[in-house]
Symmetry: C2
């Protein structure tokens, strides 16, 4: 492995430059104005794959953004690793909170700032770059490699599942590797074995057919902004428990062992609060912050708008009010069922004086992995070699809905090798990626391919 | 009076054209970009006054928008009428809900559509045009006339009070006339003898120092949008009563006589709901809609914004949430005291996990008139002649904070001669002014000047 690792170290600067080129493409999947950038990003990924020796590449058109597929299958005797990642990024507003522009990558203090730096362009590139290192040094790869890189992860992966279902044989693999999560903390590498699911909805409340003068009509006429506030506020009780009937029915409770293991992780409550700039933590009573984020369902208001929001005072009784609300789900909650319960609840509490519309914008299943599977055992070894430290086993509060789909379709275990950090502002202004973790991630990927290749040989 | 009324009738079309020219000036006082338009509107008003024989005019600069002052004092023997109005208008958003552009006046079905048509450009012009009719036919006016026309009514009249205080002697008058309210209903002319006051505040809730990923942080970290919804929702109980401690302490309750008189007014609940496009009315339990609007304090959310409000789904835990909230006040509530109670309440219920900022944006006193005063008796006669119908006595839910100031400084009774209609969308898209009421308003103004002139002579 020395020559492979040596190649990686020697090429750090070029790897960084290539990541910066990737980050300069504003591939915001939710914004139709960036449709051409999505194609540009897909083409960039194909170039990178080809340069890494993954010659068999294809840009697969969908009704949304294209899927990049690439493979190098040298021998039926080698085990096969499928790498999944996404080349699309989140929107960038509010733009004025970025220190440097989101699509002009800038290195400060060993961190690369740009939208998509860690979520997920930087992380997906680690596997392409480790493949390149094998190819350029040995002329071969220790495993068969397949890449599925989509452009719709941030908007619900609408067309990925169809692609996977139509290509189950072609995609056959012994394990799926995804790098789209974070280390437990700086210097504490980890393997993520659980993700929360998601149900994301929009509530539109309409009162009077037009905006009214709040003096002439304030009183008898229901105010949609106030009604919306009432509906939202009623969704949690004073213990932070969600009040939607039957919401908790299918929740798998934490085991005593998990709670004990997590209590032993180096979580610094004061540092956590200081980093976020808050003076107190809330959440569901009876659970620690890690338990709340990793294994308890939550409800968040993601956006709110109604009436006059400019400078000064406009005495309007608004006609409409809108909220975007998402719920993070845990194993066994079904996103469709939760979305239905949510809509029924909103309709049951809305007064007759307003009309409500509830739209289900997207959803995804939660997931937990079997820690005893060889792919996870090998991954832990690879991380230990790449980072020089044994990883901890953690879960993640975010959602990668496609993990559940991979598990169902490919019957192969998914390994979440996260190289990000928890404070890298994924989905927020000043997103960044620690360059040390970028390089250690490439090495960990290389060790994983090597060790999984050997494990596969032993098994055959 | 025949020649005066004849002149008004003959000049209807030109009066309309001049009103349209006035409405083409986008004099939005709250928007700094329209500063030049404010000056243009003030200059337009001066031209109109001069053309009406009010030669002694002045544009008085203030630190905000200028005040237009004009007077014609022919004889110390004549009683003096001071007309107050405002040439500024409300903002126009949401622009897409206007059928025709807000500053391109358009007549449809006898109604003139434009921002400011009834609030207050069309209404203030009635008095200038009736003065013109006297001047052009008789060469004199039956009363001494003074005009105070400001450009900051829609943003709290910050500089008017100073002007009034500095010019108390110059402004001395036997009555103040304001046309900035509405008839009780189409075909039911009225005199308004009460107005609600106002306390308008803004709440800013800040949670984490930056927007966060709602998956990775949702749970322990307080969501400012949710906290804001909770704070707002807690401000009213299930009876629609405001829960802020001591909020109702100074409220003057309605008399049995007033409740009886108002119950006799032709209020059609179903037509009211149909016109607004709502299926039910709410408001404070135990009060009719007229009572709620005219004589009970209310609390409205005028605007709300937080997080992601674009199309699609962005899984953000927002850093900030903002609400604009106003309370309509009734006689004897003090806006400063209410603003203080509001701020104390917000601070008392906000959790330690967020920071709240409360700004007092503006306020005004409520007001009620003495119905037995000669100015009000004369006004009722003038309306009867101008509209061919005896007016009813009503109150108004809106605020004209300056009325309380006039009462205090000039010791003269204020007469609210409203020529608008309740459904003319003041402060909303598609604001309009009924042209029949515009013309009848000009005639009523002329009769008021004539009758008040005679009443003054009789009194002297």
């Amino acid at each position: 492995m020395n020559e492979v690792i040596g190649y990686i170290v020697k090429n750090h600067d070029r790897y960084l430059e290539e990541l910066e080129s990737f980050l300069r493409i504003p591939s915001i999947s939710t914004d139709p104005e960036h449709k051409a950038d999505m194609v540009k990003a897909a083409e960039f990924v194909v170039e990178q794959l080809r340069a890494a020796g993954i010659q068999d590449c294809e840009i697969v058109p969908t009704e949304g953004h294209p899927i990049v597929y690439g493979e190098r299958v040298d021998s039926p005797d080698k085990p096969t690793v499928l790498v999944y990642g996404h080349y699309d990024v989140q929107p960038v507003d509010p733009l004025d909170l970025w220190t440097t522009p989101p699509f002009e990558p800038t290195v400060r203090n060993g961190k690369l700032f740009a939208r998509g730096a860690s979520d997920d362009k930087g992380q997906l590139l680690t596997h392409i770059k480790s493949a390149e290192a094998f190819n350029k040094t040995r002329g071969s790869l220790p495993v068969n490699l397949k890449f599925v890189l989509e452009g719709e992860e941030e908007i619900g992966s609408a067309h990925l599942e169809g692609f996977l279902r139509e290509n189950v044989e072609r995609l056959a693999a012994d394990t799926v590797v995804i790098s789209d999560t974070a280390l437990f903390a700086e210097g504490v590498p980890s393997i993520c074995y659980g993700l929360r699911g998601l149900a994301y909805l929009q509530i539109d409340v309409t009162g009077p057919k037009a905006d009214l003068h709040s003096g002439s009509f304030g009183g008898p006429v229901a105010n949609p902004a106030f009604v919306l506030a009432e509906i939202l506020a009623s969704m949690k009780d004073s213990n932070g428990r969600i009040t939607i009937p039957h919401f908790y029915d299918d929740v798998v409770e934490l085991t005593v062992e998990e709670r004990k293991a997590w209590a032993g992780l180096p979580f610094d409550r004061d540092a956590y609060m200081a980093e976020l700039g808050v003076d107190d933590l809330n959440g569901e009573a009876g659970f620690t912050p890690l338990e709340q984020v990793w294994a308890r369902p939550t409800l968040e208001v993601n956006g709110l708008v109604s009436g006059f929001t400019g400078k000064g005072a406009k005495t309007v009784l608004p006609s409409k009010a809108m909220a975007k609300v998402s719920m993070r789900l845990v194993p066994n909650q079904d996103p469709d069922k939760i979305a239905k319960l949510f809509e029924e609840y909103v309709r049951s509490v809305a007064p007759k004086s307003v009309h409500v519309q509830v739209q289900d914008l997207h959803g995804g299943q939660a997931w937990v992995a079997d820690l005893s599977h060889p792919a996870l055992v090998t991954a832990a070894e690879a991380i230990e070699k790449g980072f020089g430290k044994r990883p901890v086993f953690q879960r993640e509060g975010g959602s990668i809905p496609i993990v559940a789909t991979f598990t169902e379709l490919l019957k192969a275990p998914t390994v979440l090798l996260g190289f990000g950090l928890p404070d890298e502002n994924a989905h927020a202004p000043n997103e960044n990626f620690d360059l040390g973790n970028f390089y250690r991630g490439i090495q960990s990927s290389a060790y994983f391919f090597e060790l999984f290749g050997e494990a596969g040989k032993r098994a055959s």
